[in-house]
Homo-oligomer: 167 residues x 2
């Protein structure tokens, strides 16, 4: 049965809560796996969670630079690398951007729905899709190690908005 980890965030919701729970889960995930969520890394994660939109590395850098004068590209890229390895953020290859992971404790496949109008990203976790890919691959003798699924389209709200325009 298909399970959706994170659905599209409603336009107006208590996002402070999203941030808070994301940070708490991150702390837990790190202590559980013996990794260190340093102030810098924590701050970068927090910046990423400022919205449900994918964030570019250099946006993070400029925000960070307002707090830490010394911030340079390696600063943010190292933090991002750590956060990715810890499963706390995902990289969206088709956008060169990063989003926070809503379920860092669960196993992560990378399946994303990206709304091209409002920019928000939703993460899926459909074992059936992964299974289908694995099956197709196996028919070619191919052994899957990592999958990248990035689907562009329109979220429900943006479809409504589009229809309203063309009416």
């Amino acid at each position: 049965m298909a399970t959706v980890l994170k659905s599209f965030a409603p336009p107006a919701h208590d996002h402070g809560r999203c941030i808070k729970t994301a940070l708490v889960k991150a702390e837990r995930a790190c202590t559980a796996s013996g990794k260190r969520l340093t102030p810098l890394r924590r701050r970068v994660l927090e910046l990423i969670w400022n919205s449900h939109l994918p964030v570019k590395a250099y946006e993070l850098l400029s925000q960070l630079a307002q707090e830490r004068a010394q911030a340079a590209p390696p600063t943010v890229y190292r933090a991002l690398e750590f956060l990715q390895d810890a499963g706390l953020v995902h990289r969206i290859a088709s956008l060169n951007a990063f989003v926070g992971c809503g379920e860092p404790l669960a196993g992560h496949v990378s399946q994303f729905l990206i709304c091209t109008r409002c920019g928000t990203v939703a993460e899926l976790a459909e074992p059936a899709l992964s299974a289908g890919i694995a099956a197709s691959a196996q028919r070619l003798g191919f052994k899957v190690a990592r999958e990248t699924i990035e689907v562009e389209g329109l979220c429900r709200d943006c479809q409504k908005a589009e229809r309203a325009l063309t009416r």
Copy 2:
């Protein structure tokens, strides 16, 4: 039923034939859709088809620069944009690289198997996968416009090679 457009190219095969048929199909696709495959565009396509490996834009540029002294980044990026729009090449987002499309006349979904050892890329066309994605998306009210599926792993030959090493 699943159909495989292009399987992994055998290590040694008549690749001149691959190039030739790719160019012929490209000509056809362009005349059919009223697009112009200019010498520059044709040459870039030919360079991409030099192998079944994904090619980086700046590799193309340096090859091109040996023939045309004036070649600059826009030269190659504009050709690539045209070729993509014409469905003659695909961009692999996770690699920042480009591969020729084996079936430019058929509709293109973007489903790729990427061998992390030998680097070759195989293109899939599994309607079942696309259907599965569309179904999952619809459950969230999401309307799919474009899908990116890039699967990394090991091709059959490279699995054999790996096993031989660890034996």
